[in-house]
Amino acid sequence: MKKSMLLGALTVAGLAAGAASASTLEDVKARGELNCGVNTGLVGFAAPDANNNWQGFDIDICRAVAAAVLGDPDAVKYVPLTGKTRFTALAAGEIDMLSRNTTWTFSRDVDLKFEFVGVNYYDGQGFIAPRELGVTSAKDLDGATVCIQTGTTTELNLADFFRSNSISYEPVPIETNAEALQQLLAGACDVYTTDASGLAASRATFENPGDWVILPEIISKEPLGPLVRHGDNDWGDIVRWTLNALVAAEELGVTSANVAELSNGTDNPEVNRLLGTEGGLGEMLGLDADWAANALAVTGNYGEIFERHIGENTPIGLARGLNAQWTEGGLLYAPPFR
């Protein structure tokens, strides 16, 4: 029995390794469907709506890539993954790309052999606490019970934060965001910590959002972005430049409303290169010339995606902050389309 289990594990490892070897672009085209790893449920970023259609900020990245590669934004198979399963799924070739609020870190990039193609949300780790707890700063949390999603960078940041401030805490590791919220609402933990965007998204789903405060401390840098496997640079380029196209489009004033009109040619050469009327950038990627226009027609530019899912007019109500264009004091800066 034991021996056969070992054999089984090795066989699976062997098979998985075999599946990962061919060109991802060809695989996706042959399959006619993009396998995209997403969160198991984080309102605003990735969550199924009432009709079981996936919606959200991270989902639109998947849709944009599917539109650019296959010309069909709905040709996506969403694979919900927990913090624990996401890297194995990507490494094993179960998904083509991971768009699941994943922090870009050195060891994930280098040691785990993934390729982060950019940043779609500049985040930081924060705390949420009930207002009646009377806590105004994370440094008041000495002795508190802290719920935390296990298998994430937040776990390490939390240990570092409390250690460097010489205060104690009791970690309660929890598998998913939903379970953590359940524990927080039941009072089984005093505070919950995760990326500040996630906290805002979760608070929006609470019965009385006003009863909860997000503490002012941001204890880490969390650049979140989509990633692919090492070793298939062509595929990495496609995902990277699709993301860049969304960002650049906002800077250049291309929206889902005017993309069709602008695709007929404009006086701005960069817009023309982006939308494929000159330069042949799509061909270099191995895609159609109108790849970026396809993506933009579906999802709109970065600003539109942001406002639609997590912006100030949504229940989640996040300000652009660091995620504004560089021209407006933010960090978004797409390299030139040339």
């Binding site: 052999k113 707890l133 002795g143 019970t145 309660v172 009072g187």
Partner: protein, 404 residues
């Protein structure tokens, strides 16, 4: 002239490997073995080759690096600067804690339920039947989650104990039942406490010595010494006398509400309680069936013979039936213990940091060394399981029927 000749001394010839039935089976077994080894070798080398192509080398260096995460239940000193190896050991100890607690509780529950299920009292036997059928037919993961959610939802948070008119209060001022766990007083070992502990240990030895003496006296001379009260006296009196003579060297540290949580005392976390109880009642239901099977395997004549000798039902069970039934009960009991230990790996569902949660969970995630961590985990569970069955087999050999 000799008509009879000795049969020619046969020397071994290679063809006999196939033609001689004495050797043929060995030949085929050997060929099968070679094929099996070759197949395993091919699988291993194939997996190793594929892993190498993926750029994933097997390396256990991460075990020496600092882990960077905290663990709430720490049987040994551990902080976020400790190594992954130490985090794994903390996890192993946590697994063993819940396994031992679970096995003991499951055995008690199982024996009681198994015996009562055979009771002549209709209500008692039906109640036990309901217990067994309800608990062994629902997956243990569900039980773990149910108990955990009931605890978090029904018990008050620590803040309910606060204020001038708290909505919750501590039981006997010593035990606090909160949705984060149960806080119980912790013994404080002051000067001289070792003497009390040693006295108590000696009392245990003395109690067994007295019981053995009384039994021997009964068998040899037929004189019946009282058993229960002297045992209790020997067990507790010397310890109590020593305790007060030395001026109460063992104190209690009571939990009290300070800051966000109860501080002091021992915290039995909700996750441990949920896991422990769920595993115990689930496995207890299986053990109850083993016990029932064991008892029913003893012929009814034994009960009748014992009754005709004038033994009362309690004694029939304790002195005649159970000792014989143990032979039937122990072997399946071993596998129930193994099941319980392996089921404890469901701990992550309630955030209990067992070895699957530390080594197979956080360490695996933070280092990305999935294959290495899983292999280590398999090795650990294999070792634990083999150790449990080794110990239980020794016990089984001690109680099994001695055939002469």
């Amino acid at each position: 002239m000799t008509t009879l000749t000795d049969p020619p001394q046969e020397s071994f010839r290679l063809s006999m490997l196939l033609n001689d039935t004495r050797y043929r089976s060995y030949t085929f077994q050997f060929i099968a073995l070679i094929c099996l080894v070759g197949f395993i070798g091919w699988l291993v080398s194939n997996a190793a080759q594929n892993l190498e192509d993926l750029g994933q080398d097997i390396s256990y260096q991460f075990l020496g690096e600092s882990s960077g995460y905290d663990i709430n239940q720490r049987p040994i000193a551990y902080d976020s600067q400790s190594t992954h190896m130490r985090a794994a050991i903390v996890g192993v100890l946590n697994t063993l804690i819940v396994a031992v607690l679970g096995c003991v509780t499951a055995t008690i529950l199982g024996v009681v339920a198994g015996v009562l299920r055979l009771s002549n009292n209709w209500i008692v036997s039906k109640l036990m039947a309901v217990y067994v059928e309800a608990f062994r037919n629902v997956p243990v993961l569900i039980w773990i989650l149910i108990i955990f959610f009931i605890m978090t939802a029904s018990l008050p948070g620590p803040s309910a104990f606060r204020g001038d008119d708290p909505s919750a209060s501590m039981v006997l001022d010593a035990f606090a039942f909160t949705n984060r766990g149960v806080y119980v007083p912790k013994p404080l070992w002051l000067d001289g406490s070792m003497i009390v502990v040693i006295t108590f240990l000696l009392s245990i030895v003395a109690m067994f010595a007295y019981r053995r003496y009384a039994t021997k006296l009964l068998f040899d001379t037929g004189r019946l010494l009282p058993m229960f009260w002297p045992s209790v006296g020997i067990l507790f009196l010397p310890t109590l006398i020593m305790f007060f003579l030395l001026g109460r060297p063992i104190g209690l540290e009571y939990p009290e509400l300070r800051g966000f949580n109860f501080q002091g005392g021992i915290q039995v976390r909700g996750s441990l309680i949920a896991l422990w109880f769920a595993l115990a009642i689930y496995t207890g239901a299986f053990i109850a069936e083993n016990v029932r099977a064991g008892i029913q395997a003893i012929s009814k004549g034994q009960t009748e013979a014992a009754a005709s000798l004038g033994l009362r039902p309690n004694r029939i069970m304790n002195l005649v039936i159970l000792p014989q039934a143990l032979r039937v009960i122990i072997p399946p009991l071993i596998s129930q213990y193994l099941n319980l230990t392996k089921n404890s790996s469901l701990a992550i569902a309630v955030g209990y940091m067992d070895v699957t949660g530390t080594l197979g969970g956080i360490t695996l995630n933070q280092t990305g060394r999935a294959i290495e961590a899983i292999l280590l985990l398999m090795l650990f569970y294999l070792t634990i399981s083999l150790a449990i069955s080794a110990v239980m087999n020794v016990y089984n050999n001690a109680v099994k029927l001695k055939e002469r």
